[in-house]
Subunit: 123 residues, 2 copies
């Protein structure tokens, strides 16, 4: 029987683990929020200051998604005015390593990518 030997099971599907995670972290704000949280708990307003250019809507929305996926915890302190702090969970923390790998690659190769891009536009 002839099979594409190196492709047993055909791993290049839309619902493979990598793509499903990229669906979550590939949006406009997620990685920035994860970076802004780091290893400390941060208040909503402080988070909004740290993540440059984010709207209140998108900050809320992205934090909700991260919370739903168990990557971020939300702690409400009943005082006046109310205090809400967000922090990475253990799982959320563990995501920082692969993101760091991607960041390192980006820093090292973004220049080449941009050069290739502008060179292409010339043609």
């Amino acid at each position: 029987m002839v099979t594409t030997t190196s492709l047993a099971g055909n791993p290049y599907q839309q619902d493979c683990p990598t793509r499903r995670i990229l669906d979550r972290i590939g949006d406009k704000w997620t990685v920035l929020i994860v970076g802004a949280l780091g290893d400390e708990a941060v208040r909503f307003s402080e988070l909004r200051r740290r993540v440059e250019g984010i709207s209140q809507k998108m900050l809320t929305q992205t934090l909700r998604s991260l919370e739903d996926d168990g990557l971020v915890s939300r702690t409400v302190t009943a005082q006046v005015p109310v205090k809400v702090e967000y922090a990475l969970t253990d799982v959320g923390q563990s995501l920082r390593a692969p993101l760091k790998a991607l960041e390192d690659w980006s820093i090292e190769h973004l220049g080449q990518v941009l050069d290739a891009r502008t060179a292409q536009q010339a043609a």
Copy 2:
């Protein structure tokens, strides 16, 4: 002068290297195509078979973007019918490592994320 010490330069910007790369690889098909290419040259039609569910339009479009960014090379062999092969460039190859890191994390933690997600929907 007062500065947010741990945030010198405010790294959490939309145009930071990581986000710019995620703008490229965070789309629906890029990582699947990179995976399907691996370390060999692959023809257009074969690529289309490997990447499950991709339309001809999106395959072409994503390959063009990857080519413009210098991550993929395109080789045309003039024969009848014409043969076009795509392969990862050196830069494209170097991207596989950080993507692998993300894949490993996804395989290890996707279950937890999905569990958290369904648990959240119950509430």
